[in-house]
């Protein structure tokens, strides 16, 4: 009989049958894995998310776990840098002619803070686009007032005035509501169209009965818009009591019309 040696473990066997039996019993697993290498490669490629070598896979996984943190950190850094550049150029932009809200250091002492529904509306000067100077008290006594303070460059303001003009003006006028759209003092320091241009473009002009466009004083701006919102509205009763107020007229118009 010819001796047989197992190639895997180098054991000697007396017969070929014994060698074959040994290989079946001891080395069958190795034979299976040697026979189907492609299936394991495919599984690894699919299950381990495509990494071909260990290092690349670990880096990809590390980054994938922290991607949101990296993006958030980059966004915060960009915001801080942009704010710094913005603040740095603030004075030079003022010197180039950007309108400033106030030349004095602090709000005037005659400002009334914290007006809210239920309070009496403080009187203030109103400069109508036709050149007339009047005051809020002149409009009281006859009808409910919708006083809407706007900045002429604000998209929300243009939408609200457009909506008033296209949809709600007739209904409000029928109810006897007087609408006064007032530009906040100096457009809150930003460049925008004049209130007359604003009225022509979005509000259907300045000649609608019961609808007035005007500007006002710095005092009134600080009083009626203490939080520097770009738009704020007040519904004032004929007796001068504030019924309600809000900061987004376009969203609230259906309720304002129903309640007025």
């Amino acid at each position: 009989m010819t001796s047989r040696r197992c190639d895997s473990c180098q054991r000697e066997f007396g017969s070929e049958d014994a060698l074959l039996q040994h290989q079946r019993d001891k080395h069958q697993g190795e034979a299976d894995s040697a026979a189907v290498p492609s299936r394991r490669v495919t599984k690894k490629a699919g299950g381990a998310r495509g990494g071909r070598n260990g290092g690349e896979h670990l880096i990809a996984r590390w980054y994938a776990k922290r991607r949101l943190t990296v993006i958030a950190a980059i966004a915060i850094i960009i915001t801080i840098v942009a704010s710094g550049v913005f603040a740095y150029h603030y004075d030079s932009m003022n010197n180039l002619g950007t309108r400033s809200l106030s030349s004095s250091g602090s709000p005037p002492t005659s400002v009334v803070y914290g007006i809210k529904p239920g309070d009496r509306a403080p009187d203030f000067q109103i400069f109508l686009v036709n050149g007339t100077t009047t005051s809020l008290s002149r409009f009281l006594g006859g009808s409910t007032l919708l006083v809407y303070f706007v900045t002429t460059w604000c998209p929300g303001c243009t939408q609200a005035v457009g909506l008033l003009n296209e949809t709600y003006y007739q209904e409000l006028h029928a109810k006897g509501v007087t609408i006064i759209v007032i530009e906040l003092y100096n457009d809150l320091g930003q460049s925008g169209p004049s209130i007359a241009q604003f009225a022509d473009k979005y509000g259907g002009g300045t000649s609608k009965p019961g609808w007035f466009y005007a500007t006002t004083t710095q005092n009134a701006t600080f009083t009626y818009d203490p939080n520097a919102y770009l738009e704020v509205y007040y519904v004032i009763s004929a007796s001068g009591i504030i019924l309600y107020s809000g900061s987004s007229l376009a969203a609230d118009l259906p309720n304002v019309v129903n309640e007025a």
């Binding site: 602090s106 457009g162 520097a228």
Partner: protein, 192 residues
């Protein structure tokens, strides 16, 4: 000199064609199944419509306003369609990648959504409230708040561009994963 310039041009065009090849192969693979085509169509139309209402509504401080769509600008219209198509692609590719156990991309998509909401930073009380919480004086509030809101009001198209760019990067990353994982499998070892 001329030869060098030509080689640079061919190098960059080769890079671009390599980049696009992954997207092309991934899209061909995904859209070879009819269900993904139908899903993409529905998503693209739905998300475009949603954005057409959302983008002009945000300055009012609401998510969806029935009247705001009247005031949509041409820029917002164009980007609404673009966002619908890109988000549709991202969602369909992510679904396919998830099914094939390939890596998907979520964080960039989220960042893109946040960037497209920039209109909410203008004309709403958000910025003034944040500044007020920090306890600044009224004078400083009146100086800072309108200026910041005016910046976002004028620069919103750039934020839309950023949002679209993030979506394109997300599509590229998912396409790369799908290409490396699933193109080999699609040659007979897996079924869609």
């Amino acid at each position: 000199m001329i030869l060098r310039r030509n080689s640079n041009n061919s190098g960059s065009s080769k890079l671009l064609s390599d980049l696009l090849r992954q997207e092309r192969s991934a899209l061909l693979l995904v859209f070879s199944a009819r269900k993904y085509v139908i899903l993409f169509s529905i998503l693209a139309i739905g998300i475009s419509t949603l954005y057409m209402y959302l983008l002009p509504s945000l300055p009012e401080g609401v998510l969806i306003s029935q009247y705001a769509v009247r005031f949509i600008t041409p820029t917002q219209e164009a980007f609404s369609v673009a966002f619908g198509v890109l988000f549709g692609l991202v969602i369909v590719l992510n679904l396919y990648a998830f099914k094939m156990h390939a890596s998907s991309s979520k964080h960039l998509t989220l960042a893109s959504i946040l960037a497209s909401f920039v209109n909410a930073l203008c004309c709403t009380p958000l910025i003034p409230s944040i500044i007020a919480i920090s306890g600044v004086s009224t004078q400083l509030m009146f100086e800072l708040s309108p200026r910041i809101q005016a910046f976002f009001e004028s620069a919103y198209p750039y934020f839309y561009l950023l949002s679209a760019f993030l979506l394109l990067v997300s599509i590229h990353l998912i396409s790369k994963n799908i290409s490396s994982c699933c193109l080999t499998a699609s040659r007979g070892e897996r079924r869609l």
